[in-house]
Symmetry: C2
Subunit: 418 residues, 2 copies
């Protein structure tokens, strides 16, 4: 019996097979995400992995609808496994925002699900670091959020040679859209259709793009000229200045290719890319000032912004740049039991060392001394500890080969001294 | 729009409403679970939250079948949200056990799902600490696993006055079952039907239990006599001795009321209960020596045992015993920006303090000094740090009221000295 296509098994390292994933690397990534968010004063939240279908279908634009992992439950409810965290977060914030002082700075590490048409090796789930700020309309919040994204990437050892944040603006594109239509007096398009074409421009054949754009009253040459000029809006200038003040100026550039696919973005948008252009976007986000109002049916109105940062592209990038540590077994102490008459006091020793906070293992059943020592080495133990008799313990540092003896009660202290 | 019934929203503390859960308390519990497992030399794994339906329906007994959160996906696969971790783990171990030295000691913290008939306030998901050992048939492994469960509970501040492990044995019940049937020459029952009655005995009306038991050829009086005698098998004796050697004898007692509901248990079984008997079982587990073989269609045969330990009853118990800490906002440093001309160098200061590992916040936009200080207090900041001018920083310890000044570069050091 095999797992479902598009899902991952996470094993302890060393990995037994190329088809499975590392639970240790996953935890390493989660720890870095959590630490970065906390340094920035973000607090953790989480919501249900299942939500009513309409939370997603009515709010997130056509892009997402066909890709949902949705079904009818036994109570005849239309429900979906969450494809993104933002609608859940907007729902949660709308329900209880009055109890939290603004700005609200929150993060989560949800597992997200999509049911995309089967492509070989394409995953149907991933984990995503989400960080969001609510209640601040000033772009100082956008700068703070982007700084968090940059510093999170930096905490993995990535530098400005490895990644860049491409900064853009829905407002800039909205102005371009309005100005152009005013000039041409063309009608009938909606801006989101136009935004979708821009979003896919880098992956679209020019003649195809030209055709699609002209149908909406735009010329590809004008669009490309706007992108190439890349003139920052006042908002983007303020963000660049803010990030430069932190010493993070090298990590960000204005790039109007970026516009973000989701319908709900309203202001500054951004994506993190590897500089060599070998991978898909590492992370992306932006402002969604209208979403809380939409989700709460008008009851709550709060400016908001956030990003999502997945584990899969990050892992590919860290591997490619040789920045992912190895996570083989690691133990503080292996307790050797060479005399079975000493098993009971040895179990007591094991227990006391664990109580002192050490990671400790031992042979559950009688085994030859050389086999026990081999096991200690397999588990990368730093020390062996052995009862020589009921009143004497011998501690051996397996790196320095130093040894110490003392009473069993002294074992935890001997470990720090040896 | 509300969340689905039976699912939880997790908010940062202080909690805004009695109907929501604490993300901070959840993380506190996960951290304790993870730390205890690691001290015992267990390594982390995880599997998909969705699995093929048959992984659960064909393996886990009737008890579970009607309660699954199952559905048909867009690819017409019959799938289910995992109701327990053991079948996934058995699948994963069977697939790659050759690459891991025995005994395999693994743990996970999955979210699990059940679709039980709607009862007010009844949850349809919870998180569960799972720890399992593969490849060791000796009861020394059972003792190691139970010791982990005891020490995990102890790490929350719970003592032998708060909880006890009720130890039992499928083998003991199997012998009772065989011996009784041999005497009465009654036929037609299967043992699992009998085990199910025992499992529910404490919650069943005696006359009802009598009726059900006699239909299978058993007398309630005999069953009760067997339970009351509580004569430990040799296996259980060995476990009691092993735990006593660790100093954990007070935390365990033989109690044949326990038999565990799931079909796949084969040997020693156990459950953790609060001593006062106010709550449902805190945790439970046992041996399932045949499951890996069953899941792998006979390809892999490994003795196995494990426990599951959920977050919901634990939270109730910790609250009732006043052992759950408060997790209000907590910050190392709030940077005050009282002169907007110093915003750029102040952002640089914020950045450098975060680089030094501190949790740091500040006012994103211009605000009156008293409002900034109030915010620092709301966030429970330990220190305020303020640029007096481009070359002088003032650090204030909000607990001791001590102050220090120095150059901005010295700020991280001033924090440790102040």
């Amino acid at each position: 019996m095999d797992r479902l296509p598009g899902f991952r098994d996470f094993y302890p390292e060393p990995l037994p097979h190329s088809d499975v994933w590392s639970a240790d690397a996953r935890q390493y990534i989660f720890d870095k995400w959590r630490a970065a968010a906390r340094r920035y004063g973000f607090r953790e939240y989480d919501g249900p992995p299942l939500e009513p279908l309409e939370l997603f279908t009515t709010k997130s634009g056509e892009e997402i609808v066909g890709q949902l992992y949705n079904f009818t439950d036994k109570g005849r409810r239309e429900i979906a496994l969450r494809p993104e965290m933002t609608p859940t977060l907007a729902r949660m914030v709308a329900a209880h925002e009055r109890n939290y002082k603004k700005p609200i700075k929150w993060f989560a590490i949800p597992q997200l699900f999509r049911y995309e048409r089967q492509q070989k090796g394409r995953l149907r789930e991933h984990f995503q670091f989400n960080a969001d700020i609510f209640g601040e309309s000033d772009v100082a919040a956008d700068a703070e959020l982007i700084a968090l994204l940059i510093d999170t990437l930096r905490s993995f050892g990535l530098t400005s040679k490895d990644f860049v944040i491409r900064l853009s603006s829905r407002n800039a594109w909205q102005s371009f859209y309005n100005d152009t239509l005013q000039k041409t007096a063309h009608k009938g398009a909606n801006e989101y259709e136009f935004f979708q074409i821009i979003d896919k421009l880098e992956r679209t054949d020019p003649s195809e793009a030209e055709k699609k754009l002209s149908a909406l009253g735009f010329a590809l040459a004008d669009v490309n000229a706007f992108i190439t000029a890349g003139k920052p809006t006042a908002e983007l200038e303020a963000i660049l200045t803010n990030l430069a003040a932190r010493g993070l100026g090298d990590f960000v550039k204005v790039d109007y290719h970026v516009i973000r696919g989701l319908a709900y973005y309203t202001g500054v948008v951004f994506e993190a890319f590897d500089v060599k252009g070998e991978f898909r976007a590492i992370a992306g986000g932006g402002r969604y000032d209208n979403l809380v109002k939409l989700i709460s049916a008008g009851k709550v109105n709060l400016p908001a912004l956030g990003f999502g940062f997945g584990d899969v592209v990050l892992l590919e990038l860290l591997k490619a740049r040789d920045l992912l540590p190895k996570f083989d077994a690691k133990l503080d102490v292996f307790v050797l039991i060479e005399d079975e008459n000493l098993r009971a006091p040895s179990l007591n020793l094991v227990h006391n060392l664990r109580e002192a906070g050490h990671t400790v293992d031992y042979s559950l059943t009688p085994a030859r001394p050389d086999k026990q020592f081999k096991r200690a080495q397999e588990l990368n133990a730093s020390f062996t500890v052995k009862l020589e008799n009921a009143s004497t313990v011998r501690v051996k540092n397996l790196v320095t080969r130093a040894e110490k003896t003392g009473s069993p009660d002294e074992a935890p202290r001997l470990l720090t001294d040896c």
